[in-house]
């Protein structure tokens, strides 16, 4: 599966489901690791209750302005709750879970 495709969830926009956006830079090593780590945690703890969008900054550089991206990889949690951002390859699972509010 193309890692850049948005992973579907069963219930989009349902109150309480996580809306995530991961900014990557093509096939750089940390980008690939970030995609892998985020997806794994989401499938393990949020199956069916999340929506993950992967944005390749090489393909769509203008998207960086939207969320004021400074460094890659960056994961933005838009919902639920306050907007949070995390930087790095998300290998620290505890930090990732904390950031996702889990």
């Amino acid at each position: 599966m193309n890692p850049k495709e948005s992973l579907p969830s069963g219930r989009v926009n349902r109150r309480g489901s996580h809306q995530l956006r991961l900014y990557v830079a093509g096939l750089t090593p940390r980008s690939l690791r970030a995609i892998d780590n985020v997806r794994r945690v989401c499938e393990a703890e949020l199956r069916g209750r999340y929506r993950l969008e992967v944005v390749d900054i090489y393909e769509k550089p203008l998207r960086a302005i939207e969320d004021q991206i400074v460094a890659i990889p960056t994961l933005i949690k838009q919902a639920p709750g306050l907007v949070r951002r995390m930087i790095g390859d998300m290998s620290e699972t505890s930090l990732l879970r904390q950031g996702l509010g889990l």
Binding site: P29, I57, A64, A71, R84, R85
Partner: protein, 540 residues
């Protein structure tokens, strides 16, 4: 919206605000920390023309590997069309080293005819962001390499460069050509009238013609050869291993006769031809199987018929011989005693008695003559003891003329002949032919002195000889009949002979595959024509 007291609202809002600010601060600190400790691959910097992504070292590793290892050639050209970078494949395509390619002008690898094409491609790519086209590149040693170029302009730190992907079309065309040939040969094979199979080094049938399926009465593809074709040669099994080892030795086998047993009925006779064929993993072969069962049957039937015919022929001859021999004896006795009777009692018998006896004697003589001729006819065209079928027609004519010498002189006849060929015919038979024809020409003469002319010409690959006379001629109505046995057009008294002469000529000529016929009108003379084979020299 809930009605919250004003004071409470501002307290809630302030608390939220502090929380938000704290979060944002920690995020900003986190960002700085992550960048500082190298946990990021790239940073995004804003630029008048949009965000720019700056990749840190090591992050572009996958791309480098792709470019270096990919099958296509790729180069980056500067605005002046200098090769800034070339991957190993492009250098290889141009039969050069990467070092000698980098820094060279791209034009170096273009023939004069293709330079304009390339320029057009570049301009199109700048106009549309991408262009692609086919042209010929040229290696330093002069080899022409047809390629497809994909050209993309890229802007690198303010410079307009070109990224070009190069696909070698030779391989593609080679594959297409191979495929086309494959398709063609497969078509030919499938439609072949013969049963043809291709056997791999392990004895499996990997290709076959439709006829092969029909012969085996089954689908033969991907089955062992010996199972589909359990052949025997000289009553012994015809092993696939033999075929394959013969093929490995480079032997070509032609026209080997084998038998193929049938579930219903007699085995079929086949002719087998085998040619070696190289496979990647050893030597296989191409086997052609020709069904000759029908042909053999016809041949056998023909041989049987010929045998029967020969039998019946010799029976006939024996019969004719003994008939004529045994019949002639009593006839001769009859003639002799009648003549004795005549001689002894001529004076004592009445006149008509003599006449009657004379008739009896004449009949007996005639009968004897007929039997002699019949015998001559059955024996005519037999192979004589001296086996050489070669006869000089000139000499035969001379001999014949000397036989008729007296008669010719007496009636004032003249016989001319051209220079005649040597014929592939026995002397004895040619002599008989000319004796009969010349004899007839003299016998059936007209009022004028006979003029007989013998000539030769070519007809259908044989010699055609003509014996032309100025005799009484023959009515066209009887042109066929004259060659029948005992056919006489004229009553017994005026012309002697039993009418067997032309029948013998006919039989003789037929024996050698020729024909005999006559062209004639009453009062216009006759032309008898017959064809015989030419005597060819050895080695022709």
């Amino acid at each position: 919206m809930n009605q919250v007291p004003h004071a409470a609202r501002s307290r809630v809002t302030e608390r939220d605000r502090v929380q938000e600010l704290t979060a944002r601060l920690s995020e900003a600190e986190e960002t700085i920390r992550a960048i500082y400790s190298g946990e990021v691959d790239a940073v995004v910097v804003n630029h008048p023309s949009g965000p720019r992504v700056y990749t840190l070292e090591g992050a572009d590793h996958p791309y480098r590997v792709m470019v270096e290892k990919m099958h296509e050639g790729t180069v980056t050209l500067s605005g002046d069309r200098l090769i800034l970078y070339s991957n190993p494949q492009f250098a290889h395509m141009m039969e050069s080293t990467s070092e000698s390619v980098a820094g060279a002008e791209f034009e170096k690898f273009l023939g004069p005819a293709d330079t304009n094409l390339f320029t057009a491609l570049v301009e199109a790519s700048v106009a549309r962001g991408y262009s692609t086209g086919e042209l010929d590149l040229r290696t330093p040693s002069g080899t022409i390499v047809p390629v497809r170029l994909s050209v993309t302009p890229i802007d690198v730190v303010g410079m307009q460069n070109l990224c070009i992907l190069i696909s070698d079309l030779r391989e593609q065309r080679r594959n297409e050509a191979i495929l086309k040939e494959e398709r063609l040969s497969r078509l030919i094979l499938e439609q072949a009238g013969e049963a043809i199979v291709v056997i791999d080094p392990h004895g499996m049938i990997v290709r076959r013609s439709e006829s092969a399926n029909r012969l085996a009465r089954s689908r033969v593809l991907m089955t062992p050869f010996h199972r589909m074709f359990p052949l025997t040669a000289s009553s012994r099994p015809f092993e696939t291993s033999h075929i394959l080892s013969a093929a490995r030795d480079g032997q070509h086998i032609q026209g080997l006769e084998v038998a193929m047993p049938q579930p219903d009925g007699d085995p079929r006779a086949l002719l087998v031809s085998i040619s070696p064929l190289a496979f990647d993993d050893g030597i296989g072969c191409v086997v052609t199987l020709t069904d000759i069962t029908e042909r053999k049957r016809s041949e056998e039937a023909l041989a049987r018929q010929a045998g029967e015919l020969s039998h019946s022929n010799s029976d006939l001859r024996q019969f004719a011989y003994s008939a004529s021999h045994d019949l002639r004896e009593p006839l001769r006795q009859l003639a002799v005693f009648s003549e004795l009777l005549q001689a002894k009692y001529r004076d004592q018998l009445p006149a008509d008695a003599n006449v009657l006896i004379q008739h009896a004697v004449d009949s007996a003589h005639r009968m004897e003559g007929l039997l002699k001729d019949l015998l001559a006819y059955t024996q005519a065209a037999d192979a004589p003891q001296d086996g050489v079928a070669s006869s000089d027609a000139n000499r035969v004519i001379e001999k014949t003329l000397s036989i008729f010498e007296t008669q010719i002189r007496e009636i004032g006849a003249r016989v001319d002949h051209e220079f005649l060929p040597v014929l592939a015919v026995h002397d004895v038979h040619l002599t008989q032919l000319f004796q009969n024809l010349i004899g007839n020409a003299l016998k059936y003469r007209s009022q004028e002195p006979p003029r007989i002319r013998i000539s030769a010409g070519r007809l259908d690959g044989m010699w055609k000889l003509t014996v032309a006379d100025n005799g009484i001629g023959i009515d066209p109505a009887y042109h066929n009949q004259v060659f029948g046995i005992f056919q006489r057009l004229h009553g017994g008294s005026k012309y002697s002979g039993s009418g067997i002469g032309l029948a013998i000529c006919h039989k003789l000529v037929q024996r050698y595959g020729g024909r005999i016929w006559v062209d004639s009108e009453p009062g216009q003379g006759s032309q008898f024509m017959f064809t015989l084979p030419e005597k060819k020299n050895e080695g022709q």
